[in-house]
Symmetry: C2
Amino acid sequence: MSEKTIPYKIYLDEHEMPKQWYNVRADMKHKPAPLLNPATLKPMTQEELSAVFCTELAKQELDDTTPYIDIPEEIAGFYKMYRPSPLIRAYCLEEKLKTPAHIYYKFEGNNTSGSHKLNSAIAQAYYAKKQGLKGVTTETGAGQWGTALSMACSYFELDCRVYMVKVSYDQKPFRREVMRTYGASVTPSPSETTQVGRRILAEHPGTSGSLGCAISEAVEAASGTEGYRYVLGSVLNQVLLHQSVIGLETKAALLKYGIEPDIIIGCAGGGSNLGGLISPFMGEKLRGEKDYHFIAVEPASCPSFTRGKFAYDFCDTGKVCPLAKMYTLGSSFIPSANHAGGLRYHGMSTALSQLYADGLMEARSVEQTGVFKAAEQFARVEGILPAPESAHAICAAMEEAQKCTQTGEEKTIVFGLTGTGYFDMVAYEKFHNGDMEDYIPTDEDLEPGFSSLPQVE
Amino acid sequence: MSEKTIPYKIYLDEHEMPKQWYNVRADMKHKPAPLLNPATLKPMTQEELSAVFCTELAKQELDDTTPYIDIPEEIAGFYKMYRPSPLIRAYCLEEKLKTPAHIYYKFEGNNTSGSHKLNSAIAQAYYAKKQGLKGVTTETGAGQWGTALSMACSYFELDCRVYMVKVSYDQKPFRREVMRTYGASVTPSPSETTQVGRRILAEHPGTSGSLGCAISEAVEAASGTEGYRYVLGSVLNQVLLHQSVIGLETKAALLKYGIEPDIIIGCAGGGSNLGGLISPFMGEKLRGEKDYHFIAVEPASCPSFTRGKFAYDFCDTGKVCPLAKMYTLGSSFIPSANHAGGLRYHGMSTALSQLYADGLMEARSVEQTGVFKAAEQFARVEGILPAPESAHAICAAMEEAQKCTQTGEEKTIVFGLTGTGYFDMVAYEKFHNGDMEDYIPTDEDLEPGFSSLPQVE
């Protein structure tokens, strides 16, 4: 291996870390559509939002004009425990693919929650603490968000109540134990502890739950308990704001070595990672300073961007949450048992939805066996075992790099590696044993979800 | 949180990474006793060792005079994929303990094998490849070494055959899947695939295996197969040599900020991490340049240093390996079901044994419930979920820091955090549920192991 002028891993120094988050909405000509009150169908006010979210977070949710927002000192201090995350040059993957492309990935898996989710969890816990709350409630699917939030709450000594989708609760007992290590209480959802849970159990006895259903329970649990608020790990504007730390660090690291990316790729479930990674680059594009090719990658089994409708929809199954205008498959759509649990959500961030509608980025979908094949190949050459969610981005990055092998172009590709797959070995085992299947919903499969969309313009 | 002059995480730049390993034996006045041929009881020659190990590794095993050995370029290249590992200032733990002590830990868990084991695995795989071998065999207990070796073999496209202690094979299916992801074949031990395995199964039907037994099988499998050699992840001199990269990086990072450690702490199973971490510091002590207080921490249930005998013993149950002079509980000693699988070995590195016999370091033992209590406390404030093995060092570091709280001394404590506990959640679950027990063997319990020691001077 010859001497490389760019290191394998670019770490920023602490003083080079971002001191402010970047709010991409400030630079958007077409702002994301406002959240609507499901009862009145009027835009949610800060006061209404503050009944569900912490006051400061409600404010951040609505602020679409301030481009930079200071990262409070306490959060910046916590960030230093596990950030900056490395921007890694995938020399070994490039060699394996014999590609002239230069591939970089921003690796967010080097913390115990195993993903980028901690970036927003610590912010949300901080504002809850500052407001004098006792605790927060949330839902978790695969468990990465729940783990991140339990770590953040433990740090600020807040109570943390997690509703975990029942199928994951049963299949991922180790995730549950990590949350317990951090002192969180974990309830399988749907549960008997909420009205909406009891209703869903009555309607669908024996259901193994869904993210949309767990959200409904967590929201109800928070609104019914003095001193509690609900927090969410994706979709929301506030989450994209906090996650912009990923993109800001990436940008600073690239700048440090004079690297200009051509293509920026992220996996897309609710949009927390994709939005965080691309925000500052998208800002440049929106301001007409630079051009980048953005690619959102989603599972073919849950294709909100590529086959969804851009419409107002409920964020949850129980229809207790505000309505959001987004690319959606309908809140009644139940995604198939894809192993990338973090991407099994019917909707998408409203900001990313608007950007996609405005033609500012590409979206593509990939099938899960292809994703695991890419994941395994990546693990073998780059030494990191990726989460299935993250492997969607790997898959697209490899496709783009292979195009360069064909054309001889020396493109610079940056992708987000959101986390590690240590708690996903059941899925890897299925893949190794040849028991993994692909599933692409037919148009008929999607129809019921679309029919359930509320009639709102 | 106030501004800190020393960063939370000290990362060396790539050009500051060690270019040579350090061989502590070169500075030892009393050299570690040689390995003996179990048939002749004569010191093993390089030729004899080369029948089991790769030629270059056999040479390293015997070399007790060369202080620095170049790290081959290919290994240095692989190290750059996951090293340098961070030296972390435990600001949050210090605050929690209200201690005037300054605590640092060298964190080796940020790679997919989850521990420091990769440092030697990649070196051993490299020399095997260079020698033109087809593959290697090894044993694994908790699975960290097996995972590390399968990653290293995958990188150099070598076949990797792992004998995994049956109880772990059954209880840790996910570890097994990680190894399979890297293309290794994993066999539960004892197995029908070897003579020694069949013999042990005949003598102890239904046995759940042990590390000593898996070693015997792996050695037999290698010696019976053309183009294969056996590799081992601990105990050996060559392993300590490769692992010195931990201590060398630690030393360079401390030097960069003018930090002088008083106490250096490592957990001790076969000695790979402890030896690697302390080697360069021990070198200074041996040469009379500096003084440090070294502490080896072992489980009270498997107390080789603190209650073992310093004697020649077999390294394996099947008695096919050379004899080593070490602190040992006897090769027939079966440690209780302690959850720190990586520390459940009856013996200890010969070099560390000699250093301990010469009074150059302290050893202490801790009980597992105390270890898990420390692990959980650490996870909550430092954000890293430690492996049970690593938590032995945390436990002692916290003891020392609390002494400083009493005395007001501002000691600087450095400990090795060898890895993460993501595959140990069964143990954490037991701890949370109050189902974990401590076990300290009585003198009578230890007697049979001591009686089985071979009569060699």
